[in-house]
């Protein structure tokens, strides 16, 4: 079942890297779903709370957490916004893959419908003030292959993962953030 696959994934995965593609789909009642944006990039993470989520196309943007602080770098804006990680991960989609593995603390987990060749786990955030209502995680052969993030405005973010490598070798400073030359830093 999806829950078994997810639990074994969480317990056996200390870190992972891979590629992602993301589609934002607007779903308005009575209208055909409309893809509003498509992007892709690479990710690497190590539990708990260390990850680098790099958008490569259509623009360059990096979301990085070193376990202590969260950094967002946008090349075109030439800016780094940084704030303490604290419980920023908490019930965000990142928590599912990169957070500490006691997911039941922040989410209600239940078995969803199998579809697209994957078994799906449904996760509903316990906290009400999150920006989204519902997360679906599609699993196959014990690995996440897709995620569906539905926000309270009827927009769905579809993530698909490729070349998912479990427990890859990590360098010492792997998650240490270096401010790109010339970029302005906004501390919060």
């Amino acid at each position: 079942s999806a829950l078994e696959q997810f639990k074994s994934f969480v317990s056996s995965t200390q870190s992972a890297r891979g590629e992602f593609s993301q589609q934002l789909v607007k779903i308005d009642a009575g209208k055909a779903p409309k893809v509003t944006s498509t992007s892709s990039g690479i990710f690497i993470f190590a539990r708990p709370g260390k990850f680098i989520w790099t958008y490569q196309k259509p623009y360059e943007q990096v979301l990085q957490a070193d376990g202590d602080r969260l950094y967002i770098y946008d090349k075109d804006l030439n800016q780094v916004t940084t704030k303490s990680l604290g419980n920023a991960l908490g019930s965000s989609p990142a928590a599912i893959l990169f957070g500490s593995n006691d997911l039941e603390k922040n989410f209600i987990l239940k078995e969803g419908q199998a579809k697209d060749g994957m078994e799906w786990l449904e996760a509903t955030p316990k906290a009400k003030d999150t920006t989204f209502d519902h997360i679906g995680i599609g699993l196959k052969d014990g690995l996440p292959h897709a995620m569906e993030l539905r926000d309270s405005f009827g927009q769905v973010s579809l993530l698909t993962f490729k070349n998912f490598v479990k427990n890859p070798p990590l360098s010492a400073g792997q998650f240490q953030f270096v401010v790109p030359k010339g970029a302005d830093v906004l501390n919060q």
Binding site: L63, D76, L77, Q79, D151
Partner: protein, 193 residues
């Protein structure tokens, strides 16, 4: 506060290509970051936006870096409505006042209707049409009628030979509600209709 000014197409500019037209109806999307102060503390917000401007109605969506909708702002002729997830919708006549009240930082939407396309009114009340200037490296800068300093720092050439449009726009202003505000906008896509 400034009302939604209906602007006429400005005179042709010599800078490059056919004069850039002002489009009453246009869809724009891109990314933005805002730096402002809230009860004495430095605050920063980073995300992306979609801007669907029509003749009767304009709909703006603000999204988190991971693509979750943070807020939507609908502006009709006489009323603006702002919705944030998990909160009741708020409405007001003045969209700029509504935004700063709900989000804590000012997004000069009335002005951006012109500025996003490189037009507007300068402090002396004259219409300006920003254009990439070969001379100054920081491009075109102007102070607007309502005291926003705007810098058009880079431009996006258009393959159909039409004049290039602003790609990055930096806005700065000292505001009562949120202190020194600095907004950076990068436009990713633009579709007049």
């Amino acid at each position: 506060c400034s009302t939604l000014s209906q602007s006429s197409a400005p005179a042709a500019t010599a800078a490059s290509g056919a004069a850039r037209q002002y489009h009453q109806a246009i869809d724009v999307s891109g990314r933005l970051s805002i730096r402002y102060q809230q009860d004495g503390k430095e605050q920063a917000m980073h995300g992306s936006f979609t801007w669907a401007q029509g003749k009767q109605e304009t709909v703006i969506t603000l999204l988190s870096p991971l693509g979750q909708t943070l807020a939507t702002i609908n502006i009709a002729a006489d009323q603006a409505t702002l919705k944030q997830s998990g909160q009741p919708a708020r409405s007001a006549g003045d969209v700029d006042a509504l935004t700063v009240q709900a989000l804590g930082w000012p997004l000069p939407i009335a002005g951006l209707r012109d500025w996003l396309q490189g037009f507007g009114q300068n402090a002396a009340g004259q219409r300006f049409s920003a254009a990439p200037s070969a001379a100054a490296d920081d491009g075109f800068s102007v102070t607007t009628a309502d005291k926003w300093l705007i810098q058009y720092t880079n431009w996006q050439a258009q393959d159909n030979g039409a004049e290039s449009y602003p790609k990055r726009i930096d806005l700065a202003r000292n505001t009562a509600q949120a202190g020194e505000v600095a907004i950076r906008i990068v436009i990713d896509s633009r579709q007049p209709h």
